[in-house]
């Protein structure tokens, strides 16, 4: 089952193993400049609020009710990153507008290894965007569906789905025991690194994710192999992106304030981050590598320049790794 608590989705697979669980939340962040320069990891600025679609069913479009799942409020051009947590290995597929964010292929529930279309947690602590080339992603940036910016529209020519789609599969029971509980009769604590890119706690309705600025981030190769994942026991969730202004009308709750700009953040002397892990990174997706970024699309459409998109020069970049994983962006 998938449980929503404290704006975090927790996927539990008790039929597979009592420890089989992982959590996903959506972090507010700076939109890095979309200027083809490479940027380090921006901070997390708190979790996006997450609501059940069923709690506001009569105020939402029919398609949202059909999809089920949850929704979060986003401003136009706002960025997010997806934060993974949990000790039990799980394979996670992420799509935006039903375009796989790792492979660029159309959505299917099953995992694929050629090319690999999923991330493995806890090895993968987060995902900030579309896998455009080895070691680089283009940041997830919310744009209204129907204006041609989103990855979905650029690849399929249609503004049909929007939102984010997630499916999680746990590691098979026997594979887990073999790797992590050999000869163990009494349950023992498995000391695996926990990742936390931690933060302060806390128009058109439908939005999709478009490729923004370029950021250094690896998506790691699955070191366990496809057969390690229990694909009979997956759970999936459709995460709709609601325009922040309409979010207030739907829920009566105020959406979070607009996040700081990258420029403001740097002027406040706050840190950016770089994450190091020696695991092998996946190649980028050719399909995703050909996408036009939001800023380039704005110019292409003759709409001038994307606001708040001046280059910035991060002065403080904190190095984080498996043993040192806080990506704290209090602002």
């Amino acid at each position: 089952m998938i449980e929503l608590m404290n704006n975090q989705l927790t996927f539990r697979f008790p039929e597979v193993h009592k420890k089989a669980a992982c959590s996903i939340d959506f972090q507010r962040t700076l939109r890095i400049p979309d200027d083809n320069r490479e940027y380090p990891l921006p901070p997390g600025l708190g979790r996006f609020p997450v609501e059940h679609v069923d709690d506001f069913a009569n105020k939402l479009p029919d398609t949202w009710r059909t999809h089920g799942g949850v929704f979060i409020p986003m401003y136009q051009s706002e960025a997010l990153w997806i934060n993974f947590s949990g000790d039990y290995p799980c394979a996670i597929k992420i799509a935006a507008g039903k375009i796989n964010a790792v492979s660029g292929e159309p959505w299917v529930n099953r995992l694929s290894d050629s090319p690999q279309d999923y991330a493995v947690i806890p090895e993968q602590p987060w995902l900030d965007g579309f896998n455009v080339s080895e070691d680089f992603i283009r940041q997830f940036v919310a744009m209204p569906l129907g204006e041609g910016f989103t990855a979905e529209e650029q690849i399929t020519g249609k503004a049909e789905h929007g939102g984010l789609q997630i499916i999680a599969y746990p590691m098979k029971h026997d594979v887990y025991v073999e790797h992590f509980e050999p000869n163990v009769i009494i349950e023992k604590y498995i000391d695996m690194p926990m990742f936390c890119r931690e933060t302060c706690n806390y128009e058109a309705l439908d939005m999709g994710l478009a490729p923004g600025g370029l950021m250094r981030q690896e998506i790691y190769e699955d070191e366990y192999g496809m057969d390690a994942w229990d694909q009979d026991n997956g759970f999936r969730c459709f995460v709709h992106l609601a325009n922040s202004e309409q979010y207030q009308m739907i829920t009566g709750h105020r959406p979070p304030h607009k996040p700081a700009t990258a420029k403001d953040y740097i002027e406040a002397g706050l840190p950016w981050f770089d994450y190091y892990d020696d695991s092998k990174a996946l190649a980028g997706s050719d399909t995703l590598g050909k996408l036009t970024s939001v800023a380039a699309k704005v110019i292409e459409k003759g709409k001038g320049l994307l606001p708040d998109n001046e280059p910035v020069h991060p002065k403080t970049v904190k190095i984080i790794s498996k043993g040192n994983v806080v990506r704290d962006g209090k602002f």
């Binding site: 998938i2 449980e3 059940h52 999809h67 089920g68 949850v70 789905h161 969730c237 459709f238």
Partner: protein, 116 residues
């Protein structure tokens, strides 16, 4: 109210606005003899199989779990769930027997996956 009485009451209510809900026609649609359905409604025979109860629920617009419970049956999928962790689910159900509905709903709440 017995299972048979419940079925008859709901079938008759539908029949009063739509003649397709006669004993004969409903029996035909769920694949049993009309005489057998009449006996079920009178309580002369035990409730039918899970498959037939599900077909009746579908036909009469009723919740299959409710009809199965009235018939004293537990659906196969629930049996399967309990069989995997019998002690846990037995304890859970016993402990929750007097919990109010809202508390039960809170426990059962998960993020619903739809069609996409």
């Amino acid at each position: 109210m017995t299972f048979g009485e419940y079925i008859r009451e709901h079938r008759e209510a539908l029949k009063s606005v739509d003649r397709r809900f006669s004993v004969r026609q409903v029996a035909q649609r769920i694949g049993v003899e009309p005489a057998y359905l009449s006996k079920i409604e009178r309580g002369d025979v035990a409730p039918p199989s899970e498959a037939k109860i599900r077909a009746l629920a579908e036909e009469l617009g009723q919740d299959p779990d409710v009809l199965l419970a009235m018939a004293g049956k537990v659906s196969k999928d629930l049996q399967e769930i309990i069989r995997k962790r019998p002690q846990l689910f037995a304890d859970l159900i016993r402990q929750l027997k007097s919990a109010p509905d809202h508390a039960l709903l809170r426990i059962a709440r998960d993020v619903r996956d739809g069609d996409w």
